[in-house]
């Protein structure tokens, strides 16, 4: 019984590992192929099935005039938009989360939980519902097809995540910390900045990672709200897909776009192992 269980366990883990890794391996080998080895039948192993070459990777850094795909600018656009929107969301979200965790609010029938729910419920909003008014709204204030416009939209996407994680986190930071600081003569802002924030770094990191993930992987808004002036990475790569489909450069660019977030996976796992994701401190 026990042996069977262990066998099944490792069997399942191996099967899932293969499933997770398969598309990455396929993309990695494809990125070294050329026209012949893609279209002449399916090939797997470099040097055995096909002769690898670096064409797929070289076009990434060539200028578009020379037939390159130029993903460097979209790459930095994506980084800039994701990081700026995440930072703003974290700052605003953390402040609101702190207020919701420490003070009581009451306006008619609206209480703390309702306000928290209002923040989090913005995730329920299907992007398509917002896309049409955002499209018309941004075009009326000339922010369509601009980085600023995208950042504004991404704040709506990311702030709920920041509030969700930080409210939960602050609820588990002992109140005594702030109270001691207040007794020692800090005003509430000093107490927040000097005492509460330094004790909340794990929560801030987890919230930051989630914001970065959900900002980086968005395609929909970038697709609808930008055209030619500003391009984000996912839109650029999907545009590659529609044309003649050079699978090698497609695969190479996909791998390049995925790479930075692998680091995020390590950071998330680290804080998960320490039990910090569920907000525990000490």
């Amino acid at each position: 019984m026990n042996k069977l269980y262990i066998f099944l366990k490792y069997f399942f883990i191996v099967v899932w590992t293969v499933f997770v890794v398969a598309p990455f391996l396929w993309a990695l080998t494809t990125s070294f192929k050329d026209f012949q080895s893609v279209n002449g039948g399916v090939t797997y192993i470099p040097w055995v099935d096909f002769e690898p070459n670096l064409e797929g990777w070289k076009v990434l850094i060539k200028s578009p005039a020379k037939g390159g795909v130029d993903i460097i600018e979209p790459y930095f656009n994506s980084l800039f938009v994701t990081c700026t929107a995440s930072l703003i969301s974290i700052i605003l979200g953390t402040l609101s989360a702190y207020a919701l965790s420490r003070y009581t609010f009451k306006a008619g029938f609206v209480k703390n939980n309702d306000i928290t729910f209002f923040f989090i419920s913005q995730r329920i909003m299907p992007p398509i519902v917002l896309s049409i008014p955002f499209f018309l709204f941004l075009s009326s204030i000339n922010l369509l097809d601009s980085l600023t416009g995208l950042i504004v939209v991404y704040i709506v996407l990311l702030m709920p995540i920041a509030v969700w994680i930080m409210v939960d986190f602050f609820n588990k930071v002992p109140r005594e910390i702030d109270e001691t600081a207040l007794i020692d003569g800090c005003n509430p802002y000093q107490a927040f900045i000097k005492v509460v924030l330094p004790n909340s770094i794990p929560g801030l990191i987890v919230a930051g990672m989630f914001c970065i993930i959900f900002g980086w992987i968005d395609f929909f808004f970038a697709f609808i709200l930008t055209f030619t002036e500003v391009q984000l990475l996912p839109v650029k790569i999907v545009a590659l897909n529609s044309s003649v489909t050079p699978w090698w450069s497609l695969s190479a660019s996909a791998l390049v776009s995925v790479a930075p977030l692998i680091i995020v996976a390590f950071i998330v796992e680290r804080y998960l192992s320490k039990g910090n994701l569920s907000g525990a401190i000490k």
Binding site: F12, P23, Y103, I128, V156, M159, N241
Partner: protein
């Protein structure tokens, strides 16, 4: 504590969110009462005409909605079962625990559309590895062009992409469970299966409900994957609500009609998610 300061903490975030959102939401409602399209762009008032058209004369919207329900419920159930299994396996000590944890998280860190582009080559009917390997058995499923199989392709890709998120939430839950119930079960000499049924699973019920609801919310937005993988095809066989609204609104520029669909869709989503949350709470927390 001091009460004057609380508003300074709360309001920046709240007002920024309301400020960005209030216009779109009011605007969607107003737009849905207009006949805005590419011939006649403007906020005229045509009453409930769009809604009447939607409820009486547009089976395609309702088909896309039921398709979406099918896809999201199926994927979320699969993600929950697989995610729970994986989380349970790497929860206690196994070899290379951290390696597997990171590995199982990786798919959710990748941009869905970009991975879908890779999946498209992966499932390519003549040049992709899947059909090449399956040709050993003499079968060659039409992954992207058969109306029935295409749905399963979408499900496979969604499961690959989002099981890690379920895994993450459930593993975080498992790691935060108290130790005492497990000690008690061990003293009673409970078998692993009984331990799971009577200790682990009930303790995880609240976290499970949260995780399932969060994933259902996200899954109901399926759109990127479908757009890149099949463009809703073949025919309309993988078209989801979001995708149909996108076609009507931003391809055919029937803004008014698309807005009425968006608003209806939003209301249905809120109602059905509330019902699902209530039912799940009842079923899972009863024991």
């Amino acid at each position: 504590m001091n009460f004057k300061h609380k508003y300074f903490f709360l309001f920046p975030g709240l007002f920024v969110l309301i400020g960005i959102l209030i216009f779109p939401i009011i605007f969607v409602v107003r737009l849905s009462l207009s006949g805005w399209n590419s011939y006649n762009p403007g906020l005229d008032y045509i009453g409930l005409e769009n809604y009447i058209r939607l409820f009486t004369d547009d089976p395609r919207f309702w088909e896309s909605f039921f398709r979406l329900s099918f896809l999201s419920v199926t994927t979320v159930i699969l993600q929950y079962v697989i995610g729970f299994a994986l989380a349970h396996m790497v929860w206690k000590d196994i070899k290379f625990k951290r390696f597997f944890r990171v590995l199982f998280l990786v798919p959710m860190m990748t941009t869905p559309v970009i991975m879908t582009v890779i999946w498209r080559t992966f499932f390519h009917e003549s040049l992709g590895p899947v059909n090449d390997l399956l040709s050993v058995f003499g079968v060659a499923p039409k992954w992207l062009t058969d109306p029935v199989i295409a749905k399963f392709t979408v499900i496979i890709v969604e499961v690959w992409q989002w099981t890690p998120f379920m895994f993450l939430l459930l593993l975080a839950g498992l790691l935060s469970l108290p130790k005492e119930p497990f000690l008690a079960a061990a003293i009673d000499g409970a078998s692993p299966v009984r331990k799971f049924i009577y200790v682990t699973f009930p303790l995880m019920a609240p976290i499970s409900i949260g995780a399932i609801i969060i994933r259902l919310i996200e899954a109901s937005k399926i759109m990127d994957t479908v757009y890149v993988l099949t463009s809703g095809g073949p025919g309309t066989s993988t078209e989801t609500s979001s995708f149909y609204i996108f076609i009507k609104g931003l391809r055919e520029f029937q803004m008014g009609y698309a807005a009425s669909m968006s608003f209806t869709y939003l209301i249905i989503m809120i109602i059905s998610l509330t019902i699902i949350a209530k039912v799940l709470t009842k079923v899972l927390l009863k024991e």
